[in-house]
């Protein structure tokens, strides 16, 4: 465990100084999500020294920690109390922090069955673009006082403020876990996953690689035994390592130089795009390795009411995120200005426009 340190006022001073000089800041903690999105313009603002657990009471199911706290430390602490981040965040490197995870709203294999990072955010403390330290939400499960700016900040890639602390709902770890593997065409596998998701089955992850479907079950021994009867397949050995590799994009599928697209779709949608696919989240998340033009891939996703993001590529794309319709882009700019009137934070990190 590294030393706990509250650097809130140092960070606030840096922001105030940057505002006075109108000098944009590029927020950085562990740097493991640097590949995501666009390159931010500005002087680096480091958060790694702002770290440590602020509050954790396992029986409250709430953990509050500073943004620069390593994700792995928090997961170790939770595991000691038989608890977890139910959104199963990918790390993409040993230095991954809580702040980066929330800023990027990254979630892993359990997302379709438990919720995304943003779903577990209960409250945040931020420095806004006026250099003020503000607190929104709190450490309680239900809170509808004021606009939900904590969730707005989650996934905003640091463009709306510097996240200082985050309070998250945590959950008990499942008592038992079992992964079942079977051979199926991707289309049949997606059909099955959609049918199973409409039934009360304890599914906690799914992955379709080629013609192989893996389904993870989590719950009581008796519930798993019963669900196995419905789902079928063989028990996968070393399943924890398999899901870790899926989460961290270490499966063979993720190798090679082709651009990797992250396509978010209604789960039952049939995606007709040239390239190799890996499917997670019961069908709702499609990883696509493809050299097809961006417009084609985006049009295919949009046709089903979804969207496509260029997740990794050899050459950084000027437009990794799915473009927004003009009225929505205008609103984004106004929201950005409301939080960061001088355009100090992570300028251009999401879209070139703000």
């Amino acid at each position: 465990m590294t030393a706990s340190r509250d650097a809130s006022t140092d960070i606030q001073s840096r922001v105030i100084d940057a505002i006075e000089r109108r000098a944009p800041l590029a927020i950085v903690a562990g740097g493991t999500k640097h590949f995501l999105g666009r390159e931010a313009q500005g002087e680096p603002l480091a958060l790694v020294d702002h770290r440590g657990v602020v509050d954790y009471h396992p029986e409250e199911l709430v953990l509050t920690a500073r943004a620069g706290t390593p994700l792995s430390e928090l997961e170790t602490l939770l595991a000691e109390h038989d608890q977890m981040f139910a959104f199963e965040p990918p790390h993409f490197g040993a230095a991954a922090t809580l702040g980066g995870t929330i800023a990027a709203n990254l979630s892993g294999p359990r997302r379709a069955y438990a919720g995304a990072a943003r779903d577990f955010v209960l409250g945040t403390r931020i420095v806004n673009g006026c250099g003020e330290i503000l607190r929104f939400g709190g450490e309680v499960m239900k809170n509808v006082a004021g606009y939900d700016l904590s969730r707005l900040v989650a996934g905003a890639m640091g463009t709306l403020g510097v996240i200082l602390d985050v309070s998250l709902k945590v959950l008990p770890r499942p008592r038992e876990t079992m992964t079942l593997v079977q051979s199926l065409t991707p289309r049949a596998a997606v059909e099955n996953l959609c049918r199973w998701a409409a039934a009360p089955l304890p599914i906690s992850a799914s992955c379709i690689e080629g013609e192989r479907l893996c389904v993870r079950l989590s719950g009581t021994v008796s519930a798993l035994a019963k669900a196995r009867g419905t789902i079928g397949g063989e028990v996968l050995e070393n399943a924890d390592a398999f899901w870790l590799d899926v989460r961290e994009q270490r499966r063979p599928f993720f190798g090679g130089d082709a651009p990797l697209w992250r396509i978010s779709l209604p789960p039952a949608a049939i995606l007709d795009s040239p390239g190799e696919q890996m499917i997670e989240w019961g069908g709702a998340l499609r990883w696509l390795k493809s050299n097809a033009p961006a417009e084609k891939i985006r049009a295919a996703a949009a046709q089903h009411g979804g969207h496509a993001m260029l997740f990794r590529s050899q050459i950084r794309s000027p437009e990794p995120y799915h473009p927004l319709p003009e009225p929505l882009m205008q609103l984004h700019k106004r929201v950005k200005t409301a939080m960061d009137p001088h355009g100090i934070f992570n300028r251009g990190r999401m879209y070139a426009e703000f």
Binding site: H57, P58, E59, E60, N105, A112, G115, R118, D119, N128, E132, L134, R135, G138, E139, V140, M141, K142, N143, V144, A145, G146, Y147, D148, L149, R151, L152, A154, G155, A156, R173, A197, A198, A199, P200, L201, P202, G219, T220, S222, A223, K226, S264, P266, P267, A268, L285, H304, G306, H307, M309, Y321, P323, L324, L328, L331, R334, V335, T337, A338
Partner: protein
């Protein structure tokens, strides 16, 4: 009051402007026709609107908002009017926009487990329409027979199953919203996430301040195979509070975990005969759902925990009828209060669960201070309190005392690290307490967000987020780090 000052047109001119594009049966302007809209579920506050409209199409909503935007007429949107914080209280110089005619289910997609509905569709009607597919919509506010999905989104409504299944914000995918200038926007997607900022989350619980919700796509979830309830009685409220923490600490996430204190038990039992032990200081209702086997395991564990925490009696529902009976008393707790007291005032704070015993004790002290009885029902699993303050509005001063008592309770919730509203919203009811919970800089940030959507502040003005001036008058300002709050304002 709006920033743009008074409307530039009077009632007659507004009606004439609306008639240019709306059929007559969409516009209400006679006093007797406007009366039904004068209040929502917080009936202590009443105001007849200048004009009410009941449009049928999104285009009509856009046109209405454009006219009001141009003429500086404030607009209050309204669903079923079941809200408990006065969020739909009209303005005397404003237009009341009822979404009551938007009551169609537009699309059910069982394969993707979603339903696209208009905002005036009732919460329960969604689950009823999903039932043939073995699916339902999880958030179940106690008003679910009457309340509509548009209002649920505007308030981020909860219910008794939130701990396991989440609030409205966790159970919707996409919204269509018309902003004050008549622009139709879509937030969210048919997929699990959408590009850009999470405006879906921002709009949820925004209390009609940012836009008018005209369509909602909800997520549907499979009905659990089985659900059973453990009813445990305690001779001591603090033991019951400790049992709540003990259940959670063992790693069980109950579908519902509710608590009632003795006055609430007595009132409910007299009304619906659920078989509650009327001598108990508190009861806990713990619902467990899932596969039959998993529920049987959990029932055993929960019963053992209750006994270990000092429960004087524990019963487990044997069948659906008994489960419904156990819940009936809890679900009818509010009307049950209506039978024993001429009026009651229900508040809605949330606290960290560990402070439950302290807060309960203090609530009773506040009751004695203001000379009013308080009965308590809680969503104990979420730490969400619903103290019901019993009073008689016909006795001079009692309403004011009830409101003061409610204010004391909410202030206490903030002091122990909680919030002034868990699920009912701020509305007009808790607008002063917002000054207890947030600093001037935080309130200003909310106003800036509001201005990004509605720069003229015409949507639901005077609700949800207080102006700094109001906080200064209320005097309920908290001082951060020795700084005088609102230094920019005169003291008076």
């Amino acid at each position: 009051m709006t920033d743009s000052g008074d409307p530039t047109i009077d009632k007659g001119e507004l009606v004439a402007a609306l008639r240019r594009f709306l059929p007559d049966d969409v516009i209400l302007h006679a006093t007797e026709d406007l009366r039904p809209y004068e209040c929502d579920g917080l009936s202590a506050y009443r105001q007849t609107p200048m004009v009410a409209v009941l449009p049928r199409t999104i285009e009509q909503v856009q046109q209405i908002l454009r006219v009001c935007h141009e003429c500086g007429v404030p607009v209050v949107a309204r669903g079923a009017g079941t809200g408990l914080s006065g969020g739909a209280l009209p303005l005397g110089d404003g237009l009341l926009l009822s979404l009551a005619r938007f009551m169609s289910i537009l699309d059910i997609d069982p394969a993707n487990r979603t339903m696209r509905v208009q905002p005036g569709v009732r919460n329960l009607a969604i689950s009823e329409a999903a039932a043939p597919y073995g699916l339902y919509y999880a958030p179940d506010p106690s008003s679910q027979i009457a309340c509509t999905i548009g209002g649920n989104v505007a308030e981020n409504a909860g219910g008794v199953h939130c701990l396991k299944y989440g609030l409205t914000v966790h159970n919707i995918l996409k919204l269509k919203m018309v902003t004050m200038d008549g622009e139709l926007l879509t937030f969210g997607a048919d997929a699990l996430d959408a590009p850009g900022f999470d405006l879906l989350a921002l709009a949820t619980g925004s209390e009609g301040m940012l836009g008018v919700i005209v369509e909602v796509t909800v997520k549907l979830v499979p009905k659990p195979e089985t659900a059973r309830v453990v009813l445990a009685a305690f001779a001591d409220v603090e033991q019951a509070g400790a049992a709540v923490g003990a259940v959670i600490a063992t790693g069980i996430v109950p579908a519902g975990l509710e608590m009632m204190d003795n006055p609430a038990i007595r009132a409910a039992e007299a009304f619906v005969h659920s078989g509650y032990p009327v001598d108990a200081a508190a009861i806990l209702l713990c619902e467990l759902d899932g596969t039959a086997e998993a529920v049987a395991d959990d029932i055993e564990r929960v019963s053992a925990i209750m006994a270990r925490c000092g429960a004087s009696a524990t019963r487990v529902s044997r069948d659906e009828a008994e489960r419904a009976r156990f819940w009936a008393g809890r679900k009818m707790a509010f009307p049950a209060m209506g039978r024993i007291s001429p009026d009651y005032y229900c508040t809605d704070g949330t606290i960290p669960r560990k402070h439950l015993p302290l807060v309960l004790r203090r609530i009773q002290e506040f009751g004695r201070k203001h000379d009013l009885a308080v009965a308590n029902v809680f969503h104990a699993g979420d730490g969400n309190l619903h103290p019901m303050i019993l009073y008689d509005a016909s006795r001079p001063g009692e309403l004011e005392r009830a409101e003061q008592l409610g204010g004391d309770i909410l202030k206490l919730c903030v002091e122990v690290g909680g919030t002034i509203t868990g699920e009912h919203g701020v509305g007009v009811e808790k607008i002063n307490q917002m000054c207890d919970q947030f600093s001037s800089a935080e309130l200003e940030q909310f106003h800036a967000i509001k201005a990004a959507f509605d720069p003229k502040r015409l949507l639901n003005p005077g609700k949800a987020v207080p102006l700094l001036k109001r906080c200064a008058e209320y005097g309920g300002l908290h001082v951060h780090a020795g700084e005088l709050p609102f230094p920019e304002l005169e003291r008076f």
